[in-house]
């Protein structure tokens, strides 16, 4: 099966290891992975801040970039959801609305793709350690992908899972919220860090690079020993 990777700008620039793990994992599961060079950012940071006009140009670029793809897969629930928002954003636009719809229809978050399209629930991974999982808001609520990451983690050999208290609560990232409303964001991420500590887990795993960058960055600053991993890295370990 041919998969077109929508890596996201955070992964491209800051978290290459997540991109690599995603590619390797998909290949292990029998997919052929391509990465169109012309991909940019999905537009979410500007869009969510209210700069709709500015972000539309980026969106159009993305729509064109992935126009020939069969499946678009992203290791970020939030960015994958952004593609699903495109049809609303271009509503009433005779040229771009149909194209946006076509893109949304074939875009999947990584774990969703593995469970719902590849129909694989055990990726054959082995990972020794006590893990807790952050259910990111956009992926869980807006893209409505709740079960797939749980199913996949449950089948990882050696992995001990502890549920995160208050898991439905936002970590305080929220794109530009994290800097515009830094004082509030700090309180939110601190509560999240406290919950992570309560689990006693060695690893905090998530499926959204941005949330992980927020929680991880705060834990690092506070000197917490918990290691942050993207779910692709866990699923790719043997």
């Amino acid at each position: 099966m041919k998969v077109t990777l929508f890596a996201t700008c955070i992964v491209d620039m800051f978290q290459g290891n997540v991109g690599k793990a995603t590619v390797e994992l998909l290949e292990k599961l029998g997919c052929e992975v391509e990465f169109p060079e012309s991909q940019v950012c999905c537009g979410q940071p500007a869009y969510n801040s209210g700069y709709v006009k500015e972000s539309k140009e980026a969106m159009k670029r993305m729509i064109e970039t992935f126009s020939n793809a069969e499946y678009v897969v992203s290791p970020s629930g939030s960015c994958a959801f952004m593609f699903h928002e495109y049809p609303h954003i271009f509503e009433g636009d005779p040229v771009w609305e149909p194209k946006a719809k076509a893109l949304a229809a074939k875009t999947y978050e990584l774990t969703q793709f593995i469970v719902e399209v590849l129909k694989i629930e055990d990726v054959g991974a082995r990972f020794e350690g006590n893990v807790t999982y952050h259910t990111s808001c956009h992926m869980t609520r807006l893209l409505a992908v709740k079960e797939p990451p749980m199913i996949l983690l449950k089948n990882v050999k050696g992995l001990k899972f502890t549920e995160l208290p208050g898991k439905e609560q936002c970590c305080g990232f929220g794109g530009t919220f994290s800097v515009k409303m830094a004082q509030i964001s700090e309180q939110m991420v601190d509560e999240k860090v406290r919950h992570v500590e309560e689990t006693g887990a060695q690893y905090l795993v998530g499926a959204d690079a941005a949330c992980l960058m927020n929680i991880g960055g705060r834990m690092d600053r506070l000197g917490k020993p918990v290691k942050v991993l993207h779910i692709a890295e866990v699923l790719n370990s043997r």
Binding site: E37, C41, H138, E168, G174, M213, G217
Partner: protein, 477 residues
């Protein structure tokens, strides 16, 4: 009290909220408790909760679509039963009418049951100017009123931010109370004091949970029973309603009442749901002799027909407030409005303007928790986003530095070549700030981030370079 509370700027209010440890503890445990009760009474107990939400939404949307018709029908039916109806486009008109009723009755003693719309129009201030003794009879509101008009911080539990010791102190100072801070003893004191007030009041004033167009009725939802006494004992009753708070018939009223009580307090129904129609009947002994219904616009009609119309579907259950992670940490007063939380962040700027409230739409991570729970399916986080779009694109109120940054974003993100160049030079550009694999004191927009957290240093080899190089070589290396 008007809709606006306090005079501090948003940042200052938030700072005060964040440093109020008692309030934050109370809000967090209230949120956890109320959300758990709500879930039990909605998704868990009713297997078809989504059908309920869809029904709630279709009822509210239908009413808004035919609002003029239903209001006309309501007013006809109220008048038929001998009630007087006043349509007030502004809060001044509403207050003027109520003032004239109170003056005509030569009324001095007034009891009220909890009503957000009367807070919104500053009714109490006007009545006090008239020399009236106005008493709030909802226990939470009463506590706030006694405490020199401390503003409410939650639309269902207005005194959530106060602890029992603070309440005891207020009772001691204002009522000569001498007993303990035990809630039962405090409640008993309120019962005794307020019973007198009910019995001697000239006028009773209520809000309106839902009016029923077909019969000219309206209903009041409480647990304390205070609305019943406000409407049974005084000779004159004035009910003030936001113009959108109505339904076609008893059948739709029932659905929305069920949704309100389950979502607001996790109860199947509250202790008292009182459906009133007109003044007392000819030979009745209790109930008001005279009934006035004041229907208030106060900026609501400007919301109709536009992209924010769905906010008028709100039934004031506070479910969104009880799940909001931002409200959790800053509390109700930070919003600077009697309407806090996600619903407040959407509604307040619409009713009160962006001058005072332009920060509120940004006080959200757009996490969608509010939208997920709203029983009448208001897309709250989308509306918050819509506000941002209006603020940036129609109002042009965004800060210049941000505008420049976003312009650059638009340019960079839409051009693959520029994007690639930007991401390629990023490591070098950020090199002076980088130590090891992280940035602890970032420049420009990174500053606010790195005051709290580490920021990762850009990878020396971008993912795209790795992929390209790998493509050329052996895939399985």
């Amino acid at each position: 009290m008007a809709m606006k509370i306090g005079t501090e700027q948003f940042k200052e209010r938030v700072e005060n909220g964040i440093h109020d440890d008692f309030m934050r503890g109370a809000v967090a445990s209230a949120q956890d408790g109320m959300s758990q009760k709500r879930r039990a009474a909605t998704t868990e107990e009713l297997g078809n909760w989504e059908d309920w939400r869809n029904h709630g939404e279709e009822i509210r949307q239908h009413v808004l679509e035919y609002l003029d018709y239903y209001l006309e029908q309501l007013s006809e039916n109220v008048a038929k039963r001998g009630g007087n109806v006043f349509f007030a486009q502004t809060k001044e008109e509403a207050n003027e009418y109520i003032r004239s009723v109170v003056q005509k009755k030569n009324a001095k003693k007034i009891v009220k049951s909890k009503s957000m719309v009367t807070e919104e129009i500053s009714l109490n201030a006007m009545l006090e100017e008239e020399g009236c003794d106005v008493v709030e009879t909802d226990l939470g509101e009463y506590i706030l009123q006694l405490d020199d008009h401390d503003p409410p911080s939650h639309i269902v539990a207005p005194a959530l931010h106060k602890n029992r010791e603070q309440i005891r102190d207020v009772f001691e100072k204002k009522l000569g109370y001498t007993k303990s801070s035990n809630p039962e003893e405090l409640c008993y004191q309120a019962r005794v004091t307020l019973r007198e007030k009910f019995l001697e009041a000239d006028v009773g004033i209520t809000g309106c949970n839902f009016a029923v167009a077909e019969t000219g009725s309206f209903c009041l939802v409480t647990n304390e029973g205070n609305a019943d006494l406000v409407t049974a004992l005084p000779k004159t009753q004035i009910t003030v309603m936001g113009m959108e708070r109505l339904v076609p018939t008893f059948e739709e009223m029932e659905v929305l009442v069920s949704m309100l009580t389950r979502n607001a307090v996790g109860q199947k129904l509250t202790s008292y749901i009182t459906v009133l129609t007109g003044p007392r009947e000819e030979l009745d002994v209790d109930g008001p002799e005279e009934f006035h219904l004041v229907i208030v616009d106060n900026g609501r009609s400007n919301i109709l027909g536009g992209e924010f119309q769905s906010v008028l579907q709100c039934i004031r259950c506070a479910a969104c407030i009880n799940v909001c992670p931002v409200y959790r940490h800053i509390g109700g007063h930070s919003y600077g409005s009697i309407y806090p939380g996600p619903i407040g962040a959407v509604l307040t700027p619409l009713l009160g303007g962006y001058d005072d409230y332009k920060e509120l739409p940004y006080a959200s991570t757009l996490c969608g928790a509010c939208t997920e729970v709203c029983p009448v399916k208001i897309p709250l986080h989308n509306l918050l986003h819509k506000h941002r779009e209006v603020i940036v694109e129609k109002e042009g109120r965004a800060p210049v530095s941000e505008k420049l940054l976003m312009k650059a974003f638009g340019l960079g993100a839409s051009s693959p070549a520029l994007y690639k160049l930007g991401s390629k030079i990023a490591p070098a550009a950020l090199n002076p700030f980088t130590s090891g694999d992280k940035i602890s004191k970032g420049p420009g927009p990174l500053k606010a981030w790195t005051e709290i957290r580490e920021f990762p240093a850009p990878n020396k080899e971008r993912f795209r370079d790795w992929f390209k190089n790998r493509d050329k070589g052996d895939k399985n290396s």
